[in-house]
């Protein structure tokens, strides 16, 4: 057994922390606020990471990355999420849109899309969910019909994060009706600047930019927009989801806020009800538990194996941790009189964490879907 990540990962963490300290304001709570300056901070930070070869370090060398190990990627995920994701929406392009284009894209698609992602210049959104197709994604009905040399896309997507700021959409649409609903789906890479696309923001508790409706009204694209094989989009999307198997390192932000709490409260920590202080300790244990469950997945992937049940177990544990830690932290904040600048920053970060945590068990595959996945592997195992 050995839980040390080694010198290189430690220095990578230090580098990332130094960059954040230098380029991201201490009161930064993410790119998605009502203040456009926060988005610009994220975009500038991404360009900086790109210049230093840190944005796409997991990519293969032939596409401008340096084939970083699963543990290096883990360190980046942890550091970025802990510090309120100063990459903004870029993780989507970097973590899975880019790799999927590398795998299934034509030479022209690679040439067109990969360099802007690698340099942190472009934002992607994901056109998956629809009003009647949430967890049951394969039942989606947004259609793309053939008209001469073109495809004509019509339909509605919903819950689409970053659609107001994205330049491109990774869109899943139905190109034919087949026996099984998973058949006849195709992935399109669609420019969001098309006037036949309308984005309507949905006000929500996480703040601006998180949820949108996107309407496609006879959007015309050519064959160059098709990613992979027509009708085989479902298997492409399954691969996409596999890239994100570990998902967000939610435990890192939980741990940072919990570790910050006693320092932020100072002398007032001693006045906390003993049950709350014990609950704080319990949450730190749960942070470690989730982190180790994530490492279980990373270690398996690093050795070239896939155990989908482990990834689902991690996501069940970490999304619950997100919500339970948010409750404990809100209670801690509620017990103290927080007057100093640092204390107010702490309280704002906790409040932000709490609002985000509400969505943790719903977004990117609900906890029920994770349970279905885990029970499938559990019951199928010999």
């Amino acid at each position: 057994l050995d839980y040390e990540m080694g010198h290189w990962v430690a220095s990578l963490r230090s580098e990332l922390r130094e960059l954040v300290a230098e380029h991201v304001p201490v009161d930064y709570l993410g790119a998605f606020t009502a203040d456009p300056a926060d988005l610009e901070i994220a975009q500038a930070f991404c360009r900086l990471l790109a210049e230093r070869g840190l944005l796409c370090m997991a990519w293969p060398e032939e596409f401008g990355g340096r084939g970083a190990s699963g543990w290096e990627q883990t360190a980046v995920r942890e550091e970025m999420w802990a510090l309120h994701e100063p990459r903004g929406a870029q993780y989507m392009g970097v973590n899975w849109v880019g790799p999927t284009i590398m795998r299934h894209g034509t030479a022209e698609q690679r040439r067109r899309h990969l360099p802007p992602i690698a340099s942190g210049e472009v934002i992607w959104c994901q056109g998956f969910s629809e009003p009647d197709s949430g967890s049951d994604l394969a039942s989606l009905s947004t259609g793309a019909r053939r008209d001469g040399d073109e495809w004509v896309i019509s339909g509605q997507k919903i819950w689409t994060s970053y659609a107001t700021m994205a330049q491109w959409c990774f869109l899943l649409a139905r190109t034919s009706r087949e026996e099984r609903k998973q058949q006849g789906l195709t992935v399109f890479l669609v420019p969001m600047a098309d006037p036949a696309i309308e984005v309507r923001p949905i006000d929500c508790m996480m703040g601006p930019h998180h949820l949108n409706e996107v309407f496609f009204d006879e959007v015309r694209v050519d064959d160059g927009a098709v990613l992979g094989t027509v009708g085989d989009g479902w298997s492409t999307v399954q691969e996409v989801l596999a890239f994100e198997r570990v998902g967000i390192a939610r435990y890192a932000r939980c741990e940072r806020l919990l570790q910050w709490a006693p320092v932020a409260l100072g002398d007032q920590w001693a006045d906390l009800p003993p049950e709350l202080a014990a609950g704080w300790a319990r949450m730190l244990v749960h942070c470690r538990r989730s982190r180790l469950l994530a490492y279980r997945v990373v270690a398996t992937q690093d050795s070239g194996q896939v155990r989908p049940g482990d990834a689902a177990a991690y996501r069940i544990a970490v999304t619950r941790l997100d919500q339970e830690s948010a409750e404990v932290l809100m209670d801690i904040v509620g017990c103290a009189s927080l007057g100093s600048d640092e204390q107010r920053r702490f309280a704002r970060a906790v409040e932000d964490h709490h609002r985000y945590s509400v969505a943790a068990t719903v977004s990117s595959g609900s906890i029920e879907m994770q349970r279905i996945l885990l029970s499938r592997t559990l019951l199928a195992a010999s």
């Binding site: 057994l1 543990w71 802990a82 006693p262 320092v263 470690r288 490492y295 177990a313 544990a317 559990l378």
Partner: protein, 316 residues
């Protein structure tokens, strides 16, 4: 990061589990319950053949991992001898084994065991133990008796205390392994309303909740063992963190496994009934879950638990 036990340790655990099964398996716990004075003799020879009693977990990482695998296998069968306590005896103390003791009414599962056993506090003080006579049959006490402690003036090293906290959690993990396995098998086989119970989503979801808890304990158990092996200063914090998660997980896992077994789970013909009762000392002693939380909370106050951020780093 290497987060799996060595192949040798895993293989050793498998050998132990097979040997115990060949020696009677669940029948060993039943025999000991009928006559607690047989506890040692039922187990000792079986594990002796596998060199279990020569293991010295604090001498090398290999021995520590073998000891952990041994304790886990012992838990699978609810072995009626405190293997973890035996392996946790401090080097400087000539004793059969060491139990961590705490609270105003210290207790340990010592009914029927002879020889010298010692108690070790979380602060490392070693006490001689005089076990009071059992006031209930083993079936109800799970061999637990109250203790009178006599200070020896001896001290256990911090790593020894951490080991004495962590190894029993490996045994509890073995119990959780078996409970989940048995429940999985049961819901696949048992038919109601014309289909296996495993087809019902409410059943699937309960089983996954139990599995997530079990997996979490497994990962924390390995981390704690590494912390001890590596001689880390906060090994006791890590062992208590493991214990906190393990006792909470045990409550969830046994509740779910009993529920999914239905009435058959209460019957002595089902090993779950034995596992569930045998798990009680590991779950309640030396501290119950609430006291474990409070203990960890007060120990790590101000510095938190080692991880990605120290308190100072966390403030940015």
């Amino acid at each position: 990061v290497r987060n799996e036990l060595t192949d040798e340790a895993l293989e050793y655990g498998t050998l132990v589990a097979r040997a115990v099964e060949a020696a009677g398996g669940d029948a060993l716990a039943a025999a000991a319950e009928d006559d607690p004075s047989r506890r040692r003799d039922l187990v000792w020879p079986v594990l002796s053949e596998l060199g279990a009693w020569e293991l010295e977990p604090l001498t090398s990482a290999d021995e520590a991992e073998a000891a952990a695998a041994l304790c886990r296998a012992a838990g699978r069968w609810a072995l009626p001898f405190p293997v973890a306590a035996h392996l946790s005896r401090p080097a400087e103390v000539d004793a059969e084994g060491a139990f961590v003791v705490a609270g105003a009414r210290p207790a340990a599962p010592l009914d029927g065991l002879g020889g010298r056993w010692v108690g070790v506090t979380l602060d490392g003080d070693v006490a001689d133990i005089r076990a009071r006579p059992a006031d209930r049959p083993a079936r109800k006490s799970a061999f637990v008796v109250e203790l009178e402690l006599e200070p020896t003036g001896l001290r256990a090293a911090p790593a020894e205390v951490a080991l004495a906290v962590a190894l029993p959690c490996w045994s509890l993990l073995g119990m959780l392994d078996r409970a989940v396995e048995m429940t999985r098998g049961y819901v696949i086989e048992r038919q109601q309303f014309g289909q296996p119970l495993s087809r019902f989503q409410s059943v699937q979801f309960q089983l996954t909740d139990a599995e997530v808890e079990r997996l979490g304990v497994e990962e924390l158990a390995k981390y704690s063992l590494w912390s001890i092996e590596a001689g880390r200063a906060d090994a006791l914090d890590d062992a208590l963190a493991l214990r906190l998660a393990a006792v909470e997980a045990a409550a969830v896992v046994f509740r779910i496994c009993h529920q999914l077994h239905g009435a058959i789970g209460f019957c002595d013909e089902t090993p779950l009934s034995w596992l569930s009762r045998s798990s009680q000392p590991l779950r309640r002693l030396p501290t119950n879950p609430a006291a474990t939380r409070a203990e960890l909370g007060s120990r790590i106050e101000g510095r938190g638990l080692a991880g990605l951020y120290t308190p100072e780093e966390a403030r940015r």
